[in-house]
């Protein structure tokens, strides 16, 4: 394979294959074979973004007590910037009111930090929805969370505060990491 165009095309193929492989690996690793309530969710585009969130937490090493405070602060900053950008709001179909609700305020922050500090990486479902607000609805977060729990990818439990706490069991991160590494190494050999 010599020409740039051949290599570009090969790269495109690899990207598509990685995307397909990601979905198929998740389906394979699922503990549930329920097509309607589990596997169909694993095949959603939003599932990739859901997994991406947990993968990036791991990849960036944000797994210590206290790390969530950094994330919350950065999240509030990006939301504030977004709310001032009318064109971006329109382009991305985002409503100011919903973005405002997604900010970590003085009444929300303590629970976020408490749950994370009890078990780094753990988030209550509503706060996970806040962090993913620019990418998907709260309803989608809930739907994917329920499906991935049935698949054995996350654990959902009722916290003494009443919140539903989500902890990733590492499957999504493993699958995404493996797909990315294969793609990266193969591209490097082109």
């Amino acid at each position: 394979m010599n020409s740039d165009l051949d290599k570009d095309f090969a790269t495109l193929e690899l990207m598509s294959r990685a995307r397909h492989s990601f979905i198929e690996c998740l389906v394979e690793r699922s503990e549930s074979r329920d097509e309607a309530d589990v596997l169909s969710y694993l095949r959603l585009d939003k599932m990739f973004e859901f997994a991406e969130f947990f993968y990036t937490i791991r990849a960036m090493g944000l797994t210590d007590p206290g790390d969530v405070a950094i994330l919350a602060d950065l999240h509030n900053g990006r939301i504030a910037r977004l709310m001032r950008d009318r064109a971006a709001l329109d382009r991305r179909g985002l409503k100011q009111e919903r973005l405002l609700d997604s900010m970590f305020t003085i009444d929300v922050l303590p629970r976020l930090e408490m749950i994370w500090n009890e078990q780094p990486g753990a988030l209550d479902q509503s706060n996970l929805g806040r962090l993913l607000v620019t990418q998907m609805s709260a309803e989608t977060v809930r739907g994917i969370a329920v499906a991935t729990e049935k698949a054995g990818f996350i654990r959902r439990r009722r916290h003494p505060t009443g919140a539903i706490v989500i902890t990733s069991l590492g499957v999504m991160e493993d699958v995404m990491g493996s797909c990315l590494r294969t793609m990266r190494c193969t591209i490097a050999d082109l």
Partner: protein, 141 residues
């Protein structure tokens, strides 16, 4: 796949209601078109299975159907007529409303336009935020 499940469940409920033997038709009156326009699920099904939509409408508009057993516990503004139909069958009510909610969520997921842009930009933003978080954590290194 999800729409197939919904269509199959509707067909099953029609059998229970005794309307499965109705003659197939695919043309709609003005009144029926208004009902279809009010209900997201019927709009979605009309393209894929207009005969099934016709059977649902026959059941819905059948004057010999029994009185409502109970009002739905939640009002589905996207499928008001289907919710009312579900209320005629106490057993079907909960499943109907759940199916309708599911269909609506599924429709929203496959919608293109702002959703696609939101995904791509949202992803890039997230990655950038995570990098910044690591940098902050490591003291700006």
């Amino acid at each position: 796949m999800r729409q197939d499940l919904i269509a199959a469940t509707i067909a099953a409920l029609l059998v229970i209601a005794g309307h499965a033997e109705a003659a197939e038709r695919t043309a709609f009156t003005d009144r029926e078109l208004q009902v279809i326009a009010r209900n997201d699920l019927l709009q979605t099904l009309r393209e894929r299975d207009p005969a099934l939509v016709a059977r649902i409408l026959d059941m819905m508009l059948d004057p010999s159907a029994g009185p409502r057993l109970a009002a739905p516990s939640t009002v589905d503004l996207h499928n008001p007529d289907l919710a009312a139909l579900a209320a005629r069958s106490a057993e079907g009510s909960k499943e109907w409303l759940e199916l309708v909610r599911l269909a609506r969520a599924r429709k929203a997921e496959t919608k293109s336009g702002p959703d696609a842009t939101r995904s791509a930009e949202g992803s890039l933003e997230l990655l950038s935020m995570m990098r910044d978080a690591r940098r902050q954590k490591n003291g700006g290194q």
